[in-house]
């Protein structure tokens, strides 16, 4: 069975640097035989987590909006690409809003203990973080990693790799970057091939 790859674009504007990088990744994944789906968060109707902790009682989120079916699809995917530009040294509020909503999955794992991902499951499920930043600083992505790491942990994905490119202001956008798009394409191919090999193992 071909690997199911879901890419989530958390940028508030369409076809910018981060989404273009995500597209290259998804193209590569499709090229290698993966079945790919792209979700544009800004078109999704969902609200941030309310912090009500109601999910700590039954593992269900009381906010019934379009985030919930998305979580169902994420849990069915073999590979997830979380794509967000860096705003103010972190992921966008839209992406953070979605990640915070994963609290009900976290509650199932750590409070109710009704959900458990085996090591084998986690090894077969790959998460990638895709990001771009205008600034040239080497540390510009550092504050984004902890939230992405937490999200992958909660959702049962191994943090497989980053596809990140900084200094967008200097390159005049992702298309001006010498290697990022081809590297993203290659990474998409690679991860689907790795998942296929694991499925045979």
């Amino acid at each position: 069975m071909s690997a199911r790859v879901i890419g989530i674009s958390g940028s508030p504007h369409r076809h910018g640097n981060t989404e273009t990088l995500l597209d290259a990744f998804l193209d590569g994944a499709e090229h290698a035989g993966g079945s790919v789906e792209k979700v544009i968060l800004k078109d999704l109707v969902y609200t941030p987590c309310r912090g009500c902790n109601a999910c700590h009682k039954d593992g269900e989120c009381i906010v019934n909006d379009e985030a919930l079916p998305l979580f169902d699809r994420i849990l069915l995917a073999d590979c997830i690409a979380v794509a967000s530009p860096i705003y103010s040294m972190g992921i966008t509020a839209e992406m953070k809003g979605l990640i915070d909503r994963a609290q009900f999955i976290w509650a199932r794992k750590f409070i109710l203990k009704t959900l458990y991902f085996t090591d084998d499951h986690i090894r077969r499920h790959k998460g990638l973080f895709i990001s771009t930043a205008g600034l040239s600083w080497d540390n510009v992505f550092d504050a984004a990693f902890p939230a992405v790491t937490a999200f992958f942990n909660t959702m049962g994905f191994e943090y497989y790799d980053n596809i990140i490119a900084n200094d967008m202001d200097r390159w005049k956008g992702i298309r001006g970057h010498p290697t990022a798009l081809s590297a993203a394409h290659a990474k998409g191919q690679e991860v689907v091939e790795v998942i296929a090999r694991l499925d045979l193992a």
């Binding site: 504007h13 912090g51 902790n53 103010s88 972190g90 509020a93 809003g97 609290q103």
Partner: protein, 204 residues
């Protein structure tokens, strides 16, 4: 002239741990006669996320018409700006991140258009406070939040050395902070330090 304090409570949960921490600070400040406090509950303030359109780099204002229209001048006028946010999933909550990202208009003003953010006589005098609480008791639980908080303060002309932090980990359920051995005392102490600091700065 009263000392103006603008405080943002970023948590979606009312009267939870991070808001309580903020309230302890504000209660202490309130005992001073010359302090004017404006507390903003972010979930009620209608602040939408930044659209990333970069129009503010040209217009020197945001194209969105929402709660930020009201907050913009308050942010410039305040002597002490406080941001409180719980840690959700190893970062600040998305409601607080939306506010931080909307400070892009100040960033454009400062770094792109090279215009003053605060009047020259108040530059370098403002103090920022970041308050946070986290359920996990890991020391590194706040690390992901701090760089964004620094952006928030830097672009409104609060220097790095003028940001005060009070971050309390290991408090999760509502009310847990009340049982924390030192949080309330630390908050009150911080408030007293900040008020005497800002008073000296404004007099000087």
């Amino acid at each position: 002239m009263p000392i103006k304090v603008l405080a943002f409570s970023g948590s979606p949960r009312r009267h939870g741990n991070s808001e309580t921490l903020l309230d302890w600070i504000l209660d202490t400040l309130r005992t001073e006669g010359d302090v004017e406090i404006d507390k903003v509950i972010l979930v009620d303030a209608n602040v939408n996320p930044c659209k990333g359109c970069n129009a503010c780099e040209v217009l020197n204002k945001c194209i969105q018409r929402d709660g930020m229209d009201v907050l913009h001048d308050k942010i410039i006028d305040a002597d002490v700006i406080i941001l409180s946010s719980p840690i959700f999933c190893m970062g600040i909550c998305s409601q607080a991140k939306a506010l931080i990202d909307r400070f892009q208009v100040f960033r454009s003003r400062k770094y792109v258009l090279k215009l003053p953010v605060v009047p020259p006589e108040r530059k370098g005098k403002r103090i920022g406070i970041f308050l946070s609480t986290a359920g996990q008791n890991w020391d590194h639980v706040f690390f992901g939040a701090i760089p964004s908080v620094k952006c928030f303060f830097h672009v409104i002309d609060v220097k790095d050395s003028d940001i005060r932090y009070l971050m309390v980990n290991g408090v999760d359920e509502k009310g847990a902070i009340a049982k924390h051995p030192s949080a309330q005392r630390d908050a009150e102490q911080l408030a007293r330090e900040v008020i005497s600091d800002i008073r000296a700065r404004l007099a000087g």
